[in-house]
Symmetry: C2
Subunit: 435 residues, 2 copies
């Protein structure tokens, strides 16, 4: 006996939305076999009705207003692919949940800002709010944290969550190019936006990290509490020095449980060249999860792109299609939204770890000794110290510290700067353990 189809409405027909419509049509019979009933696109909404998207919309009804679409009694699930942390995306998701529709969204900005509120509405109404596509594209990290790792206590989650940054860093390393050159190339090839700030300054990574943090630690989402540093200051000299020391530079989002709270930070990071995450090149994303029971798990794969993101949306839809009304679902962020603990921020100055410090110094007698004594004053012990540029006016001093604190490093570098020893801005890059 054929079960009733799962009727969906899709708002937003950009790259991902178009791909979802196409894939649902192409995979119709296979999805029906897997889910026990068809998944049928009934309604769509997008800004431009006339644009040719290369998909057949003849059997699908067009609705101009996404909020009206979200409320339509003709659909069971609302798929939000509009984007943006407010406006029509927020209005339509809320309307869908309030009128009894499950929601699937790829919108990290929306969840980062309103996720807990929306989760609460979904849970109160016994609805699913699925968002696999919102973090790391096609990599099933939400399903892993929310379902597979039930009962695990997460100690750290970190990852390469922005393909644009990883593409730029990969090319800088492979070809010795400057950040600006690589960015221009990435823009030309469509891997970076005309205004790249959102990606390269780490905001996109921060949105995604904030969602992972909530899932990992059972706390409310708090993107505004994330320490943020982008990759625009990374130079070929840093990348070369990292390589010589056995490290590779990646923009990581890291969330970590500490004694004083939860650290959330996005910054260029040195990871051991021999680690699995260091081999994640180009636009590929990766997420590592450390837990008490499991140890370390790593997932890597395409973090963006129409089809990869559509794959995650369709996986979310299939989960809904396999379920039936009236059964209780797992909570949206792993724990009931009303029980998510307030986010307790660990102060960045208390962060503990190794540091890479690159200083450009005037070639004067005693510079080296002054630097060493400033480090010692702040109880920073050095794993290595190297000096370059014997014949030059300026010398480069590269230090790698043993485990120390952010505060100690900031103080030491500030003192060295005030001592007038530096001929250029100091460079400080955090080192992250990785298996």
């Amino acid at each position: 006996m054929a079960a009733a189809p799962l009727r969906i409405g899709i708002a937003g027909l950009g790259t991902v939305g178009t791909s979802v419509v196409r894939m649902l049509a192409d995979k119709k019979s296979e999805l029906e076999r897997q889910c026990g009933r068809p998944i049928t696109t009934i309604l769509v909404s997008a800004r431009d009705r006339t644009r040719d998207r290369g998909i057949d919309l003849s059997q699908i009804q067009w609705v101009d207003d996404p909020v009206e679409l979200a409320r339509s009694p003709e659909i069971d699930v609302f798929v939000e692919l509009i984007g943006g942390d407010n406006g029509p995306a927020m209005a339509s998701v809320k309307a869908a949940l309030e009128s009894g529709k499950h929601v699937v969204t790829a919108n990290k900005a929306l969840l980062s800002k309103h996720g807990v509120e929306l989760a609460q509405i979904a849970e109160e109404n016994g609805l699913l709010l699925n968002y696999e596509a919102a973090v790391a594209g096609g990599i099933p990290v939400i399903k892993t944290l929310r379902e597979a790792l039930a009962g695990n206590q997460v100690s750290r989650v970190f990852g390469i969550l922005n393909g644009t940054c990883n593409y730029i860093l990969t090319r800088m390393e492979a070809e010795g190019m400057s950040f600006q050159e690589c960015l221009a190339d990435a823009q030309r090839l469509g891997y970076a936006e005309a205004d790249p700030t959102f990606d390269i300054e780490g905001h996109d990574t921060a949105h995604k990290l904030s969602i992972l943090t909530s899932l990992a630690f059972g706390c409310q989402i708090s993107a505004q509490d994330i320490y943020l540093e982008g990759i625009s200051n990374i130079t070929p000299a840093d990348i070369k020095a990292a390589a010589n020391l056995g490290y590779r530079i990646k923009l990581l989002g890291v969330a970590q449980r500490t004694e004083t709270g939860i650290e959330q930070r996005v910054h260029p990071t040195m990871v051991p060249t021999s680690s699995v995450i260091a081999q994640v090149h180009g636009v590929t994303n990766a997420v590592a999860i450390e837990t008490d029971m499991l140890g370390e798990l790593l997932l890597s794969g395409p973090g963006a792109g129409g089809n990869a993101t559509a794959s995650a949306v369709i996986g979310d839809l299939a989960d809904i299609a396999k379920s039936r009304p009236g059964f209780q679902h797992g909570p949206v962020f792993g724990r009931p939204a009303r029980e998510l603990a307030p986010y307790q921020r660990a102060r960045m100055r208390s962060h503990e770890g190794g540091y890479f410090i690159r200083l450009t110094v005037h070639d004067r007698l005693g510079v080296f000794a002054s630097i060493a004594s400033r480090m010692a004053e702040n109880e920073i012990s050095l794993e290595s110290i190297v000096q370059h540029g014997d014949a030059a006016e300026y010398k480069t001093v590269i230090m790698v510290t043993h485990e120390t604190t952010e505060l100690a490093v900031r103080n030491a570098v500030e003192r060295i700067t005030n001592d007038g020893l530096l001929a250029d801005k100091p460079q400080v890059i955090r080192i992250e353990r990785a298996a």
Copy 2:
């Protein structure tokens, strides 16, 4: 309002079973929060009732016969951790499903042999049969293939599925040790069994691969059709030659869709040193999945160990706890068991790929030319050919072929052997593309 607890019975209290009982007790309140109801261990069964396992069994009832336990009306879920592809494991899982219990199992041998039959019983009775722990321990590869990749067409799935083999190969490479030395060390350290045949000859990998193949390609499980080659013939010379050529040797299980059917093969494999999977060291497992929509996804993590495996069992239990009776579940192997296609075997002789061939030859005039002509006769084009051992009685010839067929390589090597050119057994290792 507190929902009724999910009542479970566990048969088998080895390392994994003990860890499951401990973790369910330790994580009681956290799991209740995540699942909306408690998961409570009601019954256990194991061979030795008197052994001290370091866990509190005082609140849990002991049942001597696992089949009786499986049928008990006091439980909702039967957890099978007995092991073995028949006997009490099969009898109890069948009894559980036939008496309306969901089943969670870590038993790859059982599923490899009877998985489709058991899935059919589960599906006819509207029950869940979950088995995340059966393949790659704590890595959520079953969930990924069964749920996250809904609608994706898989072209290839491959992985490092046996920690013992990967541990041995990792140490052979790192320390230049022989296979026998590493095996002895692994046995001493508890990473290999006293009788290691099952692991090192690839049977364990084959069981796991057969399950992944069914999930990936929607076909019946057919472990007996897997081409099988273990790692006991791998020498330090192979590992060194591989490294010089930019490869690392891993025991892979590979399932791949070809024009003539599905290839399933387990053999030592050369993967590019720069690939992510090449960085998977020691007892860690990894699985790569290639699909039409997603591209390539890689999951790596602990493939064995009490807690990591228990984590997967508990994830499976949590999924059941979050569900409620009366809703339709997704099929056990991704597609309904009755609709799984018969496994259509692609012949190994038709396998296409690159090959590494290492020959030990007598130092006679014309040997090199004879070898080259035998390769040409079989239309094998060479990417590289290197000859070592200038001053020795025997010379080593190392060839890497361009894409060719298994049949061509077998024929060429057979002819070279019959030509009487070889002073030792020829070594042939397949090369696998990996990102």
